[in-house]
């Protein structure tokens, strides 16, 4: 059981980087970005190829750059070609499927294990001499902490502030001297870079890449963001990024627990995620509905 907890903690934190990337577009820029499913897989495929060639660290850096490029494509379609935000994401995601297949040489999945390639996890284990699980957890924690800290700091800089303002009041930004198209492009690049890093890390962690791995990933990311906000509320970006990590890990635990007690078959996972997101997104509507209902009941009681 403790092994399961450790495993969920590890994957939860890796996925946290995907959720953090989605947080940048969905919460900070206020645009749902479906590129994520493509850029996550892009991170995986790029990583699997370069890692099998023997460069696991470089693989992650290239994955980050590739993810940023994918985000830029979506942002370009939105800002310059004026395609609707959701559609631009779908277009990029769809196109990336072919790109990802090409990267993997036409194969739908590739294993690092059978190739015997070194991953950063294997290298780190050798370096520290810790047990496999502990060294994995330590390395993941270090990477996630570093990336989240970087994101938090970045969104407090002048450029970061401009990106946040673009998502908060675009009209104001457009009538000021800020180039809103540019800040959107930056936000999309950063978000998808984080998503691709998450894909790359997961690829090395699991030692394989699969073309269909990221199907439904957006909903998983949204669920993580929303669960995190259930703990912390929607406040500053600093708390936002931290809550995403907590939310993503909590999401893994909830799913693992449900699978442990055999509440449902694993293939129901995506359905459950979808339900979590629907419930969370409908909360404001439900809240006003119940407030009205209670107010009416109170009035009626008062009149009786």
């Amino acid at each position: 059981m403790s092994l399961i907890i450790l495993g969920e903690l590890q994957t939860g934190m890796i996925y946290a980087l995907m959720a953090a990337g989605l947080y940048v577009t969905f919460r900070i820029l206020d645009i749902p970005d479906l590129t994520v499913e493509g850029s996550f897989t892009l991170g995986m495929t790029v990583t699997v190829m370069i890692t099998s060639a023997g460069y696991p660290e470089l693989a992650l850096l290239i994955a980050i750059a590739a993810g940023a490029c994918a985000g830029l494509v979506t942002a370009f379609l939105q800002t310059k070609v004026k395609i609707q935000p959701i559609l631009s994401g779908i277009i990029t995601m769809t196109a990336l499927y072919s790109v990802n297949m090409q990267i993997m040489g036409g194969k739908p999945n590739i294993s690092l294990y059978s190739a015997g390639a070194d991953t950063i996890f294997i290298k780190f284990e050798r370096l520290t001499g810790l047990s496999a699980n502990n060294s994995k957890l330590l390395l993941i924690s270090l990477i996630v902490a570093a990336v989240i800290a970087l994101l938090i700091l970045f969104f407090k800089t002048r450029v970061g502030l401009k990106i946040r303002a673009t998502g908060d009041n675009e009209e104001m930004v457009r009538s000021s001297s800020i180039n809103a198209d540019l800040t959107k492009c930056l936000g999309f690049a950063i978000g998808n870079a984080s998503v691709a890093l998450s894909g790359g890390l997961l690829c090395q962690y699991q030692q394989y890449a699969d073309i269909n791995y990221a199907v439904g990933m957006v909903v998983v990311g949204l669920a993580s963001i929303i669960i995190g906000e259930a703990f912390f509320g929607r406040r500053s970006v600093t708390i936002g990024f931290i809550s995403v990590v907590v939310g993503s890990t909590a999401y893994r635990f909830i799913i693992a627990l449900a699978l442990q007690v055999k509440l449902f078959d694993p293939y129901w996972l995506k359905f459950i995620s979808a339900v979590i997101v629907v419930i969370a997104l409908s909360l404001p509507v439900l809240k006003t509905y119940f407030q009205k209902l209670f107010a009416r009941l109170k009035n009626e009681r008062g009149n009786a």
């Binding site: 407090k156 800089t157 002048r158 502030l161 401009k162 009041n169 000021s176």
Partner: protein, 271 residues
């Protein structure tokens, strides 16, 4: 400084030309503002007041004529580039501020890197400056600098928006009925703040208002617009001797119709 800060030369703009909806928004408008000019702009609905502002800001490009700002021809410059040197405030307090950013973050956004290059947008140095500026508003906002701006009242938001519009020391300030959506007491307060900021900074300012009394009392100069033209431009003694009644008479003589719309009438009766 005697040179004109803002200069409009024969500016014209027609919307939907050649269609049944053709509307001449600006007709050969010429206007010159120098440093220290605080011009109030009046006119009935559709007179071209907001079109004048939009032309200056580059919301649309004009059909003919020239616009110079600080001696530089900005006629063909895109709006976001002009925005560096023009501060603009709208009637809706929601338009000028980002609701989920804090007061200090909003100010930092407008302040840019004028306080020197720092890693963080909000830093010790510019925070001190913001605190001082907020304290001058006398709204108690200097103690709420980390409050999200969406939690403030409309008047407080508009006051912060005014600071944001002037903090970057623009060459020109455009106020588009910026007190119209506020309750009378708050509107008065925001107008007072406006006057004190403009007088202190000497920024050339155009202020659209529907309050004729304020138009004559506030500022140094008043222009009246009708059907896309400036039909009256008074300052100094002439302006001092102007009364609301005389202004209304002048208007009907010039335009052969009544200036008053319901809102203006309401304002006059209220006073």
């Amino acid at each position: 400084m005697s040179a004109a800060m803002l200069e409009l030369i024969n500016v014209s703009k027609t919307f939907f030309p050649g269609t049944v909806n053709e509307r001449k928004a600006l007709r050969n408008v010429s206007l010159s503002l120098k440093s220290g000019d605080f011009v109030t702009v009046i006119g009935s609905n559709g007179a071209g007041k907001t079109s004048l502002f939009n032309a200056i800001c580059g919301t649309f490009f004009v059909d003919s004529g020239k616009i110079l700002l600080g001696g530089k021809d900005i006629t063909d410059m895109p709006d976001y580039k002009r925005a560096v040197s023009i501060g603009r405030l709208f009637q809706d307090p929601m338009k000028g501020t980002a609701p989920h950013l804090t007061i200090e973050e909003n100010l930092a956004l407008a302040y840019g890197n004028r306080g020197g290059r720092h890693f963080f947008a909000v830093n010790r140095k510019n925070r001190a400056k913001f605190k001082e500026m907020l304290a001058a508003l006398e709204l108690g906002l200097e103690n709420r600098m980390t409050t999200q701006i969406g939690l403030l009242s409309g008047g407080q938001r508009q006051a912060v928006a005014l600071l944001m519009a002037t903090i970057s020391e623009p060459k020109l300030l455009l106020l588009d009925e910026h007190t119209a959506a506020l309750d009378p007491a708050t509107a008065k307060k925001v107008l007072e703040i406006t006057v004190s900021i403009v007088e202190k900074t000497k920024t050339p300012t155009l202020m659209i208002t529907h309050d004729i009394r304020a138009a004559l009392e506030v500022g140094t100069r008043t222009i009246m617009m009708d059907e896309g033209r400036i039909i009256l431009d008074i300052e100094g003694e002439e302006r001092k001797n102007m009364t609301i009644e005389k202004l209304l008479q002048l208007y009907s003589k010039e335009s052969k119709k009544q200036l008053l719309n319901d809102r203006m009438l309401f304002e006059i009766e209220k006073q």
